[in-house]
């Protein structure tokens, strides 16, 4: 499928304050990032007429709209968890291309570290299917579901704990080059394997951080992007899908929705994995990255372990990935997908400092949410 619609651009990106944020609310954090992103786009908040927000209180985008003084003509609060912001780019691209809005704001902030707000316990009252058929078995959410997937991948393809650990090491090597990264100490495969086992085969250091953070992204038309203060980046393609909620319903534990979202996005962009200069895959857990590499076609199914073990993802590798340090070492505020977009844009603009990937022309951000349930893929290009 080709997209016979006008080109659409990302004209501004920003992070909120990151790490431990004691002196802000989620709304004030979003306001800081949104103002910075619209300034990059050469606009003000008054120009925003489309809003793509979720996980900011009841009724999706409504509270952020009120706080920022935006009364949009297009509003979307699709709930695809970690993939939401890649899906929002998909939706914003189509809405802007169709003329339903002209300046779309994607925004998110969370203080889940300072609020200690990421719970592994789910509702138990018997009213939901999960509370009847999954929760009583003590499956920690989400790590237990990812652990089952990793265990199956290992059984089926011989993937090893060392190979999974290599992904955390690559992320840390990048984080050491990013002054904003939360974890910057040296890390080895042995360190990951020696960290506490949480839910076999996933160790503490196979898991992402829990930090405060968020950001904002502006999506707009070619005409509006021309006035941007910084170089705008073209949205070449996007895709999304989801497969399951309960782990018992996942069609194949070794295949994620990233197959569908990746194929959609790459086809729309007219690229193949070989064209990708920078990859920003969602790294809630090390296995999340490994399976995404396979599902998007960077390597064959089952080859992910061998693909990552020679540090091809790290600095100097042939597929630079997780270049901010990712959710594993830089920042994971919950809906990490937004920060993947921010990093991809900065790499394409050449403003990533010590971690800059040379000659980066095509970047892919790939969000994964739920229990490997959802996926959203976005292809971005420097023109």
């Amino acid at each position: 499928m080709s997209l016979r619609t006008p080109p659409v651009y990302i004209a501004g990106v920003a992070e909120t304050p990151l790490g431990e944020v004691w002196d802000q609310t989620e709304l004030s954090m979003v306001a800081l990032a949104a103002r910075e992103a619209v300034a990059e786009a050469g606009m003000t908040l008054r120009d925003v007429d489309g809003i793509f927000v979720n996980y900011m209180g009841e009724e999706g985008s409504v509270q952020v709209g009120e706080y920022l003084g935006i009364q949009p003509r297009y509003a979307d609060s699709s709930d695809l968890g970690g993939a939401a912001f890649e899906a929002f780019i998909h939706h914003a691209m189509l809405a802007v291309a169709a003329g339903r809005c002209e300046v779309a704001l994607l925004a998110y902030a969370s203080r889940q570290r300072t609020r200690r707000g990421r719970s592994m316990v789910r509702a138990r009252d018997g009213s939901s299917l999960a509370s009847q058929f999954e929760v009583p078995y003590g499956l920690p959410s989400p790590i237990g579901l990812y652990a089952l997937i990793a265990a199956r991948h290992m059984h089926q393809y011989g993937t090893t704990p060392e190979q999974l650990a290599a992904i955390a090491v690559a992320a840390r090597q990048w984080a050491r080059l990013n002054p904003k990264a939360w974890s910057r100490d040296p890390l080895t495969v042995q360190d990951v394997l020696a960290s506490r086992m949480i839910s076999d085969p996933l160790h503490r250091l196979d898991c992402c951080l829990v930090t405060d953070g968020g950001g904002a992204v502006i999506v707009t038309t070619a005409a509006r992007a021309r006035n941007a203060a910084k170089r705008a980046v073209r949205v070449l393609g996007a895709g999304e899908s989801h497969t399951h909620w309960h782990i018992s319903q996942m069609p194949d534990l070794t295949v994620s929705a990233g197959g569908v979202s990746g194929k959609q996005a790459f086809e729309m962009a007219g690229i193949t994995p070989a064209d990708v200069d920078v990859l920003e895959p969602y790294d809630s857990f090390t296995i999340t990255v490994l399976m995404a590499l396979e599902d998007m076609g960077f390597c064959a199914k089952g080859e992910g372990g061998r693909f990552v073990e020679r540090n091809r993802l790290g600095p100097g590798g042939d597929l630079p990935a997780l270049t901010s340090g990712g959710g594993l070492s830089y920042n994971h505020p919950g809906a990490l997908g937004l920060l993947l977009l921010v990093e991809a844009v900065r790499q394409l603009r050449g403003e990533a400092g010590d971690r800059q990937v040379k000659e980066a022309k095509i970047a892919v951000a790939h969000g994964v949410g739920g229990f490997f349930s959802t996926a959203g893929t976005v292809v971005l290009a420097r023109e």
Binding site: M120, V121, R124, G126, S127, L129, Q132, F133, E134, V135, P136, Y137, G138, L139, P140, G144, A147, L148, I149, A151, R152, H155, R196, M197, I198, S199, D200, P201, L202, H246, I247, S248, Q249, L253
Partner: protein, 134 residues
């Protein structure tokens, strides 16, 4: 509006599963049109779209599809470490469960057992099948 009966668990679609569980019988939905089994239950057959569903007894035998040892406390009833598995019933559907009464690996054969729960129907869990018993 009628009141929820005391002691009821689940909903109209899942209640027969839990009623059978009270008698320590594992049942799964079977489609009379296409013959496929499905779990969890739905008001239609996911395979063929038909609605001629019946509750069929499961043999209670399964193969371990994936498993993890949980080493952190999640719910009060289960003291870590404990094993959570995804098992594939011989009838086809997969279920999330616990492995009790022995250790297991992926590919091992298991059979249903029941965990008693105060105020709730017994919960189907699985235990390793001894050598040569299937």
């Amino acid at each position: 509006m009628s009141e929820r009966p005391a002691g009821a668990f689940g909903d109209a679609i899942t209640a027969p599963f839990w009623e059978a569980a009270r008698e320590r019988r594992l049942v799964v939905q079977r489609c009379r049109d296409c013959g496929r089994h499905q779990f969890y239950p739905r008001p239609f057959c996911l395979a063929c779209g038909g609605t001629a569903l019946e509750w069929a007894p499961s043999k209670g035998l399964a193969t371990v599809h994936a498993l993890t040892t949980v080493r952190i406390a999640v719910i009060p009833e289960l003291q870590p470490p404990y094993v959570v598995a995804l098992v594939e019933l011989d009838e086809g559907p997969r279920m999330t469960t616990n492995i009790v009464g022995g250790t297991c690996r992926i590919g091992d054969r298991v059979r249903v057992a029941w965990r008693e729960r105060p105020d709730l129907p017994p919960l189907p869990v699985f235990e390793p099948v001894g050598e040569g018993s299937t």
